[in-house]
């Protein structure tokens, strides 16, 4: 579904991604972790072309993201993305956030878009908040709306960029629950997160990144058993001791 081949990226002289290669199959849930500054957010943003890269190739459903002839908006509309800071549109009501792209990008009728939006709001248990502005919701609620907004587009895969890092501890679970459900339904997911509980529960594979490189790319059992690289062992021991 998603093939990342030898991708490198520079910010001026600084190399943020160094020859990253991996694959995500249909229905697979892959967790990307690593210390901050290791390039994991940059990598996930390369997958739907939000960040350009200079070398290598990324294929999403067979279409090259960096290709000259690629209709990037169209490709992006097929891949859902959820951000660390939610990024709901603050000047629109919750329901409008959900319908905007359905109408403007997919060309659905407003009625169909509203129906779909309501159905997904129901699913994340927020129907009562459809006419509120995002600013009036809690962080966890906003992130659930953001997930519903992405799902409205019927995506073939979902990208999560640290979806729980900006949340208060008591709100993390309500968001993770939605993500677990999604994973169990067979959604193809690439998730940048430090939530190892989530990884243990639903991930098929775990990728560990450090200084722009994919250091470890292993099935979950293997990764949590004994990571091959010392760097990953050290990282795991630091985040799992609490």
């Amino acid at each position: 579904m998603i093939a990342i081949k030898n991708v490198s990226k520079w910010y001026g002289e600084f190399k943020v991604l160094a020859g990253c290669t991996t694959q995500i199959e249909k229905g697979e849930v892959v967790v990307v972790c690593g210390p901050s500054g290791s390039g994991k957010s940059t990598l996930i943003k390369c997958v739907n072309g939000l960040e350009p890269f200079q070398e290598g190739e990324i294929l999403v459903d067979g279409i090259s993201v960096g290709g000259r002839k690629t209709d990037l908006p169209k490709l992006r509309s097929r891949v859902g993305m959820v951000f660390q800071h939610f990024e709901l549109f603050p000047h629109m009501k919750v329901l409008e956030n959900l319908t905007l792209a359905q109408v403007k990008v997919l060309g659905r009728t407003p009625e169909a878009a509203i129906e779909k939006g309501l159905r997904l709001l129901e699913r994340v248990d927020l129907s009562a908040h459809k006419d509120k502005f995002p600013g009036n919701l809690s962080g966890g609620q906003q992130q659930r709306v953001a997930i519903a907004r992405a799902l409205c587009m019927d995506p073939i895969a979902m990208l999560f960029d640290e979806p729980t890092s900006a949340l208060d501890p008591e709100m993390i679970n309500e968001v993770l629950d939605v993500m677990v459900e999604l994973a169990q339904e067979g959604m193809t997911m690439m998730v940048v997160t430090h939530e190892m509980g989530f990884a243990r529960k639903v991930a098929h594979r775990v990728i560990f990144m450090d200084s722009g490189r994919i250091v470890e790319d292993a099935p979950k059992e293997e990764f949590f058993g004994t990571p091959r690289s010392e760097r990953a062992q050290l990282f795991l021991s630091k985040i799992l001791q609490h």
Partner: protein, 229 residues
């Protein structure tokens, strides 16, 4: 203290003065609208990653911001008729009329200032919003129109209006090319009737009241718009 002054001159010339005021307000509102529209285009050009777009826009903005307004008014008042004669080959071609030449001068001049305000406003919208819009598949134009500009303008309303108040005061400069705006009307009556003190005091008072009230409204708006998000 005011013996020897004739404040009655104000009452007698009210119709003429209010015509001047209409001119001033019309010029202000129209050049504000024109300036904001052109300024938005310039701001988008300045923010574009392509040199062909942002170099001309930067050049334009820097040139006009380093030029006194009064010069721009003169240029348009005196050069446009000359240019029209040259272009049309008609020796008797006149310009486009004093109102329109003033309107164009103010629009072009204000656009440079509005451009910078709008550019800052667009940059004040978090980058994540652009990413979120793009990630949903919106094109650049859709993202700007639906997501970025509405937020940017909401943040900018107070500054845009404050710039409008400054513009309203600046429209008084058109009296140098003989146009009868409020200031022009007051000054003509002052000189005709020899009532300089009365008329200039009155003009100052009116400008003060209008601008002060407008500033007050802007301040209230600022309070209202600063909440949210």
């Amino acid at each position: 203290m005011f013996t020897g002054f004739d404040f009655d001159v104000i009452a007698r010339s009210l119709p003429y003065l209010s015509q001047g005021m209409l001119f001033s307000l019309g010029l202000t509102v129209l050049s504000m609208i024109g300036g904001i529209v052109l300024g938005t285009v310039l701001a988008l050009m300045r923010l574009a990653p392509f040199r062909v777009l942002h170099l001309p826009a930067s050049g334009y903005v820097n040139l006009l911001r380093s030029t006194p307004l009064i010069l721009v008014i003169f240029w348009f008042y005196f050069l446009v008729p000359l240019a029209m004669k040259r272009l049309s080959g008609d020796a008797y071609a006149t310009g486009i009329g004093p109102f329109y030449s003033a309107l164009i001068a103010f629009t072009l001049f204000e656009a440079a200032y509005y451009c910078e305000i709008i550019r800052a406003g667009i940059q004040s919208v978090p980058r994540g919003q652009v990413h979120a819009a793009f990630a949903l598949g919106l094109t650049y134009g859709q993202a700007m129109r639906r997501v970025i500009l509405p937020q940017a303008f909401r943040n900018m309303v107070p500054i845009l209006l404050t710039q409008g108040i400054i513009l309203f005061q600046d429209t008084s400069l058109v009296y140098v090319v003989g146009l009868t705006d409020f200031m022009g009307a007051a000054s003509k009556i002052a000189q005709r009737d020899g009532r300089l003190v009365e008329m200039y005091l009155f003009a100052a008072l009116i400008y003060f009241i209008l601008c002060f009230l407008a500033s007050y409204v802007v301040k209230r708006l600022q309070l209202r718009y600063s909440v949210g998000r």
